[in-house]
């Protein structure tokens, strides 16, 4: 009734090709933006920012990045943790070397550095595919973590090998460091998320995204119709790593403030982000958000329910949490192998026909 194309007349090609062709979707999108930009910053507290929303936003960027590579271009990667580490260490080196330059520029530059590293490790993808490529990117993961542990230049020769984010501000408001207000932390992440999501959405709808999808669906056929696998695959690695680099930079500078490479960017981080996009939905921007939300919020929700509401011992809750999250992942993948995004898609199809399905 509300959710339908009928009556929403488009008079230009531009209007016909817009991201949200259905009026209700557009309103919903604007409503989400209004709530995110104009309501949440005024009500957010320390706990909600530090434990829930900031990690959710940052993991969303990483999931969008990995989704471009795995979901849109079909190149399996297990190097996400390593690439996030590149973003984090790049932003640290830039922040300490050029303190007068804005942190926003540093984060974008860190994304650029990560893109370059990603292209380098993407080169083998021209020759190897599938699981073999996954193993090659796994090498990137271990090499990068080892590198940041081994070479003291990356952590400015500090005795502990830790990197600490100095205080930096945007337009006079602190965004990194311990004295940052929770709304400022949230806002800087939100701006980057919006930027990345809009960019990714438009890239994947244009010719670049179509080339990626052609490569994903069948690389030989793609070559025959004129897609250059070299540029298509390497551009996917570059764009994907750019996003992952931004998320790594924010993860270090805004969220944690101090990072130890082996612990924060280990192999488990690569798997976590990969699970996010598998559960959320491969090849879907919405799926990246849904997957990040699922894996960031669910453990916190279960912990609050178990410890604070039911009063169970913390170790039992921690174990039960693993069991429940694992079981839910299996149930979701059996019930809907294409992830939460597909559930959303099916729901929208049904909504169009509601209340008179045929």
């Amino acid at each position: 009734m509300l959710y339908r194309e009928a009556g929403d007349f488009k008079t230009t090609y531009q209007a016909d090709n817009q991201t949200f062709p259905i009026r209700f979707d557009r309103w919903r999108y604007y409503a989400v933006l209004v709530v995110a930009y104009a309501v949440i910053p005024f009500v957010i507290g320390d706990y909600w920012a530090n434990a829930i929303l900031v990690p959710f936003l940052i993991y969303s960027i990483a999931a969008i990045g990995l989704n471009i590579l795995v979901g849109y271009c079909g190149q399996v990667s297990l190097g996400t943790g390593g690439f996030m580490a590149v973003g984090a260490y790049a932003v640290y080196k830039l922040m300490t070397a050029f303190p007068e330059v804005s942190i926003v520029i540093h984060v974008l530059l860190a994304g650029g550095v990560t893109a370059a590293v990603g292209v380098l490790f993407g080169l083998p993808s021209l020759r190897i595919k599938g699981f073999y490529l996954a193993v090659a990117t796994l090498a990137a993961q271990f090499f990068l973590v080892w590198l940041f542990n081994k070479v003291p230049w990356f952590y400015n020769y500090s005795a502990s090998g830790q990197i600490n984010a100095p205080e930096r501000s945007v337009m006079g408001v602190l965004v990194t460091g311990p004295n940052t207000a929770p709304w400022a932390q949230y806002m800087i992440c939100l701006v980057f998320v919006t930027f990345c999501a809009v960019l990714a959405r438009n890239l994947t709808r244009g010719s670049v995204g179509r080339k990626w999808m052609a490569i994903r669906d069948m690389d030989i056929a793609a070559e025959i119709i004129g897609v250059n696998p070299l540029t298509a695959k390497l551009s996917a690695f570059a764009v994907s790593s750019f996003f992952i680099g931004i998320s790594g930079a924010l993860f270090f500078a805004v969220y944690l403030g101090a990072v130890e490479v082996g612990e924060a960017f280990g192999i488990s981080k690569s798997f976590l982000v990969l699970f996010m996009i598998i559960i959320g939905g491969l090849g879907s921007i919405f799926g990246s958000f849904a997957g990040a939300a699922f894996l960031v919020l669910l453990p916190v929700a279960l912990k609050v329910l178990g410890v604070d509401v039911l009063g169970w011992p913390t170790d039992i809750v921690a174990h039960v949490q693993l069991v429940i999250v694992g079981a839910l992942i299996i149930i979701f993948l059996i019930a809907e192998p294409h992830g939460l995004a597909q559930l959303w898609r099916v729901a929208k199809e049904k909504l169009r026909l509601w209340p008179f399905p045929y």
Binding site: P166, L256, G262
Partner: protein
């Protein structure tokens, strides 16, 4: 039906409301799961049981009851931050994260929020400089003391001359394991020994290549900075290559029963530092009678008397003593985090007081001041007896080489101060 829902809602709100504002809150950021649980459980039990004892025996501290909300970190920094944010609203008096990684995370946060943090024998060594780190305490000893004490013990064994010897450091490849390297390098130049650094990556389940290297190089001594499952594996591997166990010395975090028992008879003679003496203290009987027998124990009650249970209890005792001192200074039993900090800075632990508390000579006598948040920096050396299944303290308190450490502390604290934009000051 409706009544039931209402009752349930009322119940959950009372539970969510948490401790009453008048209680003194000591959050316990513990880890009872994951690869570090073997060491995290006894410490958390000891920490919580001592506060329960104070509640049961004395009705709290200065007549105010104590609350110990527990939060599981799994030794993971992200969860540690979540726990900190979750407990910050309860007016906590002091944080003890029992993780160097989480400590580095929290140092700027507690400084900004004005909540003291006590990192007993771990964390950032230069936090000893109270002028630069007003909210962080690491008494009674720190890692650089530990490194120096281990080397001093080796010096004793070798008759005072270790030039030309080789010492290998097997360490957890993280901020924790890297802490002693700076000091050991300085000591290597001073005493003329060669230092080999052998990192082990988290969690340390796999150490074949590291011990192959030790087997090939045959260092005279091996020092270990390990934690969790890494300890057990290292001691087993050392036994496998027949490394002389009395030449293998662990830091105080690598010397609990849970680390040596899995290696069986092979672990006999393994040495570790300890800042809290193991003995059957009278206070344990009180804990058994007033906490465990009443069913109030944090764990199964089977850890009493173990090294890490004792250390958890020791940490709780230092916190309780500091809180009592703070009450005395503030003149009110309901102290705030800032008053707690003043209490910690004025803390003095004497031998007589330790006897009074039912734990004679559990640790060194020390006093804290703004210039020195690190205590005296002394520790015992203990040795594992596999037949008797117990640790034996084989030395008295060994002092560290302050001549080497103090300049390093000044240097590192100055580096932090300039990085974080702090002007060091003692009032």
């Amino acid at each position: 039906m409706k009544m039931k829902t209402l009752a349930l809602a009322a119940l959950s709100t009372t539970l969510l409301a948490g401790p009453v504002a008048a209680d003194l809150v000591f959050p316990s950021l513990s880890y009872r799961t994951g690869p570090y649980a073997a060491n995290g459980i006894p410490f958390a039990d000891g920490y919580q049981d001592y506060f329960t004892l104070l509640n049961e025996r004395d009705g709290g501290i200065g007549g105010v009851r104590l609350q110990v909300p527990e939060c599981e970190t799994g030794y993971n920094t992200e969860k540690g931050v979540e726990c900190y944010e979750a407990t910050k609203g309860l007016n906590p008096l002091v944080y003890q994260p029992l993780s160097t990684g989480i400590t580095y995370q929290l140092i700027p946060k507690v400084t900004a929020d004005g909540i003291p943090m006590h990192t007993m024998g771990y964390g950032r060594t230069s936090a000893q400089d109270g002028a630069t780190f007003p909210w962080v305490f690491n008494y009674p000893a720190n890692y650089w003391d530990g490194a120096s004490i281990a080397v001093n013990h080796i010096l004793d064994q070798e008759g005072g001359d270790i030039s030309g010897k080789t010492i290998a450091l097997v360490y957890h490849n993280s901020a924790y394991g890297k802490e002693p390297i700076r000091t050991l390098q300085e000591l290597a130049t001073k005493h003329g020994f060669t230092l080999t650094e052998i990192p082990v990556d988290h969690p340390g389940q796999e150490q074949k290549s590291q011990w192959l290297q030790i087997r090939r190089d045959r260092p005279d001594y091996v020092l270990m900075w390990g934690w969790g499952v890494m300890n057990q594996v290292a001691i087993q591997e050392a036994a496998n290559i027949n490394f002389p166990m009395d030449h293998f010395i662990g830091i105080w975090w690598s010397g609990s029963e849970n680390d040596v028992i899995p290696a069986g008879a092979g672990a006999n003679g393994y040495k570790a530092l300890n800042m809290n003496r193991v003995a059957d203290f009278p206070v344990y009987d009180e804990i058994r009678a007033l906490v465990v027998d009443k069913g109030l124990a944090a764990g199964a009650g089977d850890q009493i008397g173990s090294v890490l249970y004792g250390r958890g209890m020791y940490a709780a005792m230092l916190a309780a003593e500091a809180a009592a001192k703070a009450q005395e200074l503030a003149g009110t039993p309901d102290i705030t985090a800032a008053q707690m900090r003043d209490g910690m800075e004025a803390l003095e632990i004497t031998a007589a007081r330790m006897v009074e508390l039912g734990m004679p000579d559990i640790g060194p006598e020390f006093s804290v001041s703004c210039a020195n948040h690190g205590g005296v920096g002394q520790a015992y050396v203990q040795q594992w007896d596999a037949t008797a299944q117990q640790w034996t303290v084989i030395t008295g308190l060994i002092a560290s080489d302050r001549e080497v450490i103090d300049p390093l502390v000044v240097e590192d604290a100055a580096a932090y101060a300039s990085e974080a934009g702090i002007t060091p000051a003692c009032n």
